[in-house]
């Protein structure tokens, strides 16, 4: 009597070769997939006057980022974006949009701090401080003293900073941007739009190349 399954294949070598082929196929496919920068048409709103941005408002190219200050991946990208703002800040409009994720405890409160700083003209400075020091405030029991210290170091009016951070209009602004992002298909942070395409470049060089091609 044959062992169960013996009759399934004319040759015993077939499943071993077929199985090995499947494993190899997965290796090649995933190697290519994880190395390629994703790109798809953007469905998020075009830049508008009330967007927080860096660079000329009438620039022919806009780079939009939906971000969450408590997202470690966004923090990794902040230095890349800083380098790009330095290089292309005179030709490209860099737009920042809030997309606080529900699974990040301090995502919304940090977004409020950044928005409050923007009302005193220090958004990008606060943006950089929040990402550079992400670990300290995101792992604390209360991040507000950290935000206050950043605001102080930037010379902000603390009373106005607190009032703006707590204002309903601030909450509404953040919620509106997040809702528009969600409607536009944003599923993760950071979410980048270069021109009309959603992209996820893996390095400064890749990002730089995308911008050069779009200009």
């Amino acid at each position: 009597m044959h062992a169960p399954g013996n009759h399934l294949f004319a040759s015993k070598g077939v499943p071993w070769v077929g199985g090995s082929f499947l494993l190899l196929l997965a290796v090649v496919a995933l190697y290519l997939f994880t190395g390629a920068a994703a790109s798809e048409p953007a469905r998020t709103p075009q830049p508008s006057a009330d967007d927080i941005s860096f660079g000329p408002a009438d620039a022919t190219l806009a780079v939009i980022e939906y971000s969450d200050f408590q997202c470690p991946f966004c923090a990794e990208y902040s230095s890349i974006l800083a380098a790009l703002r330095e290089t292309y800040g005179d030709r490209v409009r860099f737009v920042f949009r809030f997309y606080p994720l529900a699974n990040h405890q301090y995502a919304t409160i940090s977004a409020k701090a950044a928005y409050a700083a923007s009302l005193q003209g220090k958004f990008w400075e606060m943006h950089d401080l929040l990402f550079e020091n992400q670990k300290e405030w995101s792992e604390s029991a209360d991040p507000r003293p950290y935000f206050d210290s950043y605001a102080e170091s930037l010379g902000l009016d603390l009373d106005k900073f607190h009032a703006d951070a707590d204002a309903q209009s601030t909450t509404d602004f953040i919620k509106r941007q997040a809702a528009e992002g969600k409607k536009g298909g944003v599923t993760h942070t950071p979410w980048f739009v270069v021109g009309d395409s959603v992209v996820l470049p893996r390095s400064l060089d890749e990002f730089d190349k995308l911008i050069r091609e779009a200009l």
Binding site: M1, A3, P4, G5, N6, L8, F9, K12, P15, W16, G19, L22, L23, A26, V27, L30, Y31, F33, T34, G35, D68, C71, P72, F73, C74, E76, L101, A102, N103, H104, T187, H188, T189, P190, W191, L200, R202
Partner: protein
């Protein structure tokens, strides 16, 4: 007399292949030096970037890839020649895999307080391999000599 369940090796090989693909993806992500972005659903970044994702310099994802590749080939072994030794080795490894789930799951739940969807999926597959391995039956002739 129990009839051999022919779908069992197919299920085991298929599940191991799924585990292999997920673990391989995480391995590539690890070695390419980036993490998956933070998704709206509970994020992977806390888990993938934690110090616990590497043991003695070897990423857990790579160990998972090797484990699932081995289980996949054992599954093929069960399909082609369901020998007692293959069944025994399969059951032992499936049990070892199920044991490994405990610290991995507790790390996510208690220490990291974050669940990585991909990691949970591979753990579920390991559990499935162990549970389904109970349905493996040794060939009759070989069993008779046991």
């Amino acid at each position: 007399m129990t009839r051999p369940r022919r779908w069992v090796p197919w299920l085991l090989a298929g599940a191991a292949y799924a585990g292999f693909v997920i673990s391989l993806y995480l391995t590539f992500v690890h070695y390419r030096g980036y993490v998956s972005p933070c998704y709206v659903v509970h994020g992977c970044e806390e888990v993938q970037t934690s110090t616990y994702s590497v043991i003695l310099g070897v990423p857990l994802a790579l160990l998972g890839t090797i484990f699932f590749a081995f289980m996949f080939y054992l599954g093929i072994g069960l399909l082609t020649a369901s020998r007692v030794l293959v069944v025994r080795v399969y059951k032992v490894l499936a049990f070892a895999g199920a044991l490994a789930i405990i610290p991995l799951f507790l790390l996510q739940a208690i220490v990291l307080k974050a669940f990585c969807t991909y990691c949970v999926a591979t753990e579920a597959i390991m559990l499935l391999l162990w549970v389904v391995s109970f349905l493996l039956t040794a060939p009759e002739r070989a069993r008779a000599t046991l």
